[in-house]
Symmetry: C2
Subunit: 152 residues, 2 copies
């Protein structure tokens, strides 16, 4: 199976393939950007496989129903993987060096997640930037935090 | 395509499927645990699809060779997704509420990543725990940080 087959499998099971398009402009304090992607059943299944996280809170509706979440939720780190994609779209070649995230509300399978970021600190001479980040689903904040990146 | 087909695709392309086995014992300060998984080409391809992060630093060897990394590297957040799997194996139903990670060195495609964790703070009456974490690849620290979790 090659990458073409994998992409076909992904789209045929409901996965949303995003074009890798870079954001434009000059990275400086106040620069803001957003990125969104729908998180589907196939994303949760694949995140389980690649990580090994098959927790029933993500995979077993009967167990998840009995929790405060009242049903299966998306892996928090699958939600924040969209931050990786958003940062990668910034001008330049981006390397993530530090992250801090607070998971404030659950994301449901099928939700569209929007990542919004703004440059909080810019040190172009050291090629370092601190980006403030939030993730929203259904207009509700599900993640907030920041990342420090290098731009090569 | 159902989940059986997806698992077959994953293993036939070199993916390592991990059994979801819970760690034993009582979660208290000093409790330690480890989890490891090999990160392969198919993991990088699938992480690209589910996140939308197709940065050339992960996918284009000719560009990656010209960087300080001297070749393609695994997405940092794919490495830390193994922390999600490690935490999910702790006794009880685990919900991640906060994370802080520093990415200290690159992970190469094919590397086995080991997650090591130790309970730093235990508040069983509030069901809250702080876990100190490191990820190692080839005996080199690639990630260090911590996570705060709820145990339901």
């Amino acid at each position: 199976m090659d990458i073409k087959d994998i992409k076909d499998m992904y789209t045929s099971t409901g996965g949303e393939i995003k074009e890798f398009e870079k954001f434009e402009g000059k990275l400086e304090k106040g620069y803001n950007f957003s990125y969104e992607k729908r998180v589907t059943e196939i994303d949760v299944q694949l995140f389980g496989l690649i990580s090994g996280d098959f927790s029933p809170i993500h995979f077993d509706e009967s167990i998840a129903l009995k929790t405060k979440f009242k049903g299966r939720v998306v892996h928090g780190m699958l939600t924040t993987s969209l931050i990786s994609a958003a940062l990668a779209r910034l001008p330049g070649l981006v390397v993530i060096i530090e992250t801090h995230f607070v998971y404030t509300a659950p994301v449901r399978i099928g939700d569209k997640v929007e990542v919004k970021g703004v440059v909080e600190e810019a040190e172009p001479e050291r090629k370092r930037y601190k980006i403030n980040l939030v993730c929203l689903a259904n207009n509700r904040k599900v993640v907030e935090g920041w990342a420090k990146i290098l731009i090569w």
